[in-house]
Symmetry: C3
Subunit: 341 residues, 3 copies
């Protein structure tokens, strides 16, 4: 794996300062960079590392042009972090050759399924009746594409993905291993101490450019559909309940959970392990800190948090015990205030 600075500058479309024939073999942070590393400076707080870095070349913003040029080779870009992201793609394309088109002989594909051009269907995958696989999609080993489900153009499913009957995902998506799309939502009517199942008749509809992390689950809707808009990014082990609506370009970190019928706006972020209760509405641009629990709707953009601060165990025990009397404490304080002129 080796690229010349000239190749890279051409790929990224920036101004190259330095020798275009110099070769780099890896991407890495400024600190720890070797003379065959290409690095980037996007966060001003790492600026002090620039001068000392051994990197062969650094992606920098126009404001850093002179400082970078004083050190050695550089590529000047409006957004060096975006440049870094695009650089990783250059590497990835070589590391991981695209899956060859074709259906593996061990796959079980129903004759009624419509398979687009250039599609790869891996070993032991199952594609059920009336499923639709868009052009150039990749269906990994052991995936199950249910009856009448559809996968958009160029979307890639890793291993062991389940896409339930009637569910759909748009184009250019990435679905990691073990994802379950379209299991039944959790709906029961209480009847004399036991639970009567409410059949889940909706589907899951997922837009374009969506990425879904390993072992994440998105349940089908009860009567209407569960909807994930374009550009949403979900990390691993996330639970999305029935009839949830996630707005465009919202991102959620690992282990988050969204209960049934919650509506999350566009461009939101939900931190790892955070929980959004059912039937709530979050406006666009709401940001939930990791491990926080959203118990009421949030109508105003901003950052919201609710986590018990960690402490050494003995301190925590004392504070937690006092917390259980907090309301009484307030009453005592109020009484004192009345007494004190």
């Amino acid at each position: 794996m080796e690229f010349t600075l000239g190749d890279i500058a051409a790929h990224l479309g920036g101004e190259l300062i330095g020798d275009s024939a110099v070769r780099v073999t890896r991407i890495g942070p400024l600190e720890g960079a070797t003379p065959s590393t290409i690095s980037f400076l996007s966060n001003p707080k790492y600026q002090s590392q620039l001068a000392a870095s051994q990197a062969a070349c650094v992606l920098v913003s126009p404001a850093m042009r002179d400082a970078a040029a004083a050190r050695g080779a550089a590529i000047v870009l409006d957004d060096p972090y975006l440049g870094f992201a695009r650089l990783t793609r250059l590497w990835a394309q070589r590391l991981r050759p695209a899956a060859a088109a074709g259906v593996h002989p061990s796959a079980v594909v129903d004759a009624s399924a419509r398979i687009g051009a250039g599609v790869h269907i891996g070993p032991l995958a199952v594609v059920e009746a009336d499923a639709v696989i868009g052009d150039n999609a990749v269906i990994g080993p052991h995936c199950v594409i249910g009856r009448a489900a559809s996968v958009g153009e160029g979307t890639r499913l890793s291993a062991h993905v389940t896409l339930g009957f009637g569910c759909s995902i748009g184009g250019r998506g990435i679905v990691h291993s073990g994802v379950v799309i379209g299991a039944d939502g959790f709906g029961f009517a209480p009847v004399q101490g036991r639970w009567e199942k409410i059949e889940q008749l909706g589907n899951v509809r997922i837009g374009d450019d969506v990425e879904i992390g390993a072992n994440t689950c998105i349940d089908r809707g009860a009567l209407d559909d569960t909807v994930i808009e374009n550009g949403v990014k979900l990390d691993n082990l996330i639970q999305i309940g029935h009839n949830v609506h996630v707005g465009a370009n919202t991102a959620m970190a690992g282990c988050a959970g969204v209960a049934g019928s919650a509506t999350i706006g566009a461009n939101c972020t939900v931190g790892g392990g955070a929980i959004v209760l059912g039937h709530l509405t979050l406006a666009d641009n709401v940001h939930i800190s990791a491990a926080s629990v959203v118990m009421r709707s949030i109508g105003k953009p901003g950052q919201y948090s609710g986590v018990f601060p960690i402490d050494d165990n003995a301190s925590w025990e004392k504070n937690a015990a006092t917390l259980r009397q907090l309301h009484t404490l307030r009453e005592r304080l109020r009484a004192l205030e009345k007494k004190t002129p």
Copy 2:
């Protein structure tokens, strides 16, 4: 998909007010109902929506009979919500034809396995030696039924379910994709800074009418079995540790976790993301709010909660910082009280 009101009333066993030949094509809430929708009114707080709804027909309780009849067609039922649940089944039966009996030629079924009448075994499923599959059970694609495991009559497993050796599930169960039943419990003896494995010799025993959500895990017991009683409903991504006992008709929402050897009573509910620590006992009819952490046994029925209230980040930071000094605050309050006559 179309049913006449006459068909529906016959199926639900209620009194039909109105024209039995009218046809409906979908089920939906009162609000937003079209003239081809059948709807229901079970929660009195939606009563105000009744008069204005365009629904072709509404399931109502006897108390609502006259109000409903004044509006148009209705079916009168003792429990309209149960009626709604049963109605979804009518739709589901048509939407999703039952899997045809038979073993897919790509499945790998050991000759010693006992397969009941009417069983469906999907593509690429694996059934190991001495497994027992009850009549009319459905084993989805890519399921693995371990050695000497058993699946009860009419129980349906979706794709990619793992039922470990010696584990059992009763009749009429539903197991969603990616569920793992019978992985080893987490047991180790600490030995000079490393961990010596304690082999997990128990099994998992699951009763009748149990539903288990996608990617949920139920570990086998250490010496005795992990037990899930009849009628339990588990949502997605739940962790049930070794030797846990979950009482009949208890329901748990997504991302809940129950640590080893905890005993949860019957008719309990555990909210999403809640954690029950190991070796605790919860009485029957205990209800744990979402994201709460049960750190001691609970002997009395009721609703229990413990969540840090979410707030805008700046307010949370101030309150959380003060919380770390709460015990000191109490001491200061006490000192003031002593000084104030």
Copy 3:
């Protein structure tokens, strides 16, 4: 299943007091033991159960030798709990015969994969090009071993495990069903309101003697590798983000989550449902209580906690409401203190 006390004493290497021909059929705790049970006493708090137990034989420490001998048969061991752990292995070896060497005819194994001696590859497993499977490893049904991935000697994978391309696990490991190793880390550059993917170019490197619970996910690194050191034990449904480093012999309970680039020391424990935020460092021997959220680095060994104490719902509501004004309360207390001489 039956062993004589003589066989067991020979296997464990301890002194047997009593008749070596006595047979036992099960392992169990002192309480509830039958005359065919072998039991153990490791925790002094259960010492009072010793005299009354019906157990055929008890594993005890030298300090308990006389008390045990007064009751009946015993095996004296320096560490009876370790003895118990080894005893479970004796049972397990008989309950679960080792998988026979050989590649199941339904498995799809690339011709370029290197398969060691004595390896078992189960039905419908997939082994991609250039993968390396060490001697005596067990690859369960439906596992996917990616291109150039490697599995160490004697390591056992249950069903439906995904080991991504280029990822590796060392020797004597145990990986439970549904585990995903090597999905992409969660990395995106924000670009004008949408997310540009940062390709994840690192791998996952896992040491020897590691156990990984069902449906747990370990993401590949962004530029460098995600690293799990020797002897680490991970329970079910755990999320390990990209570039995390977990030190040797650290154990984490179910539903824990570690965000990207966190470094966790050796011999740590992380309780169930606990969350460690990204880019933090935990020293060796740090112990995080269940459901606690680590929001800052921890440099000192010890036990750390941060959980809102559970209470009946009404009490919780009052205390939680007051908590949202805690900072104000402190200000009011301060004002009072100033007024009170």
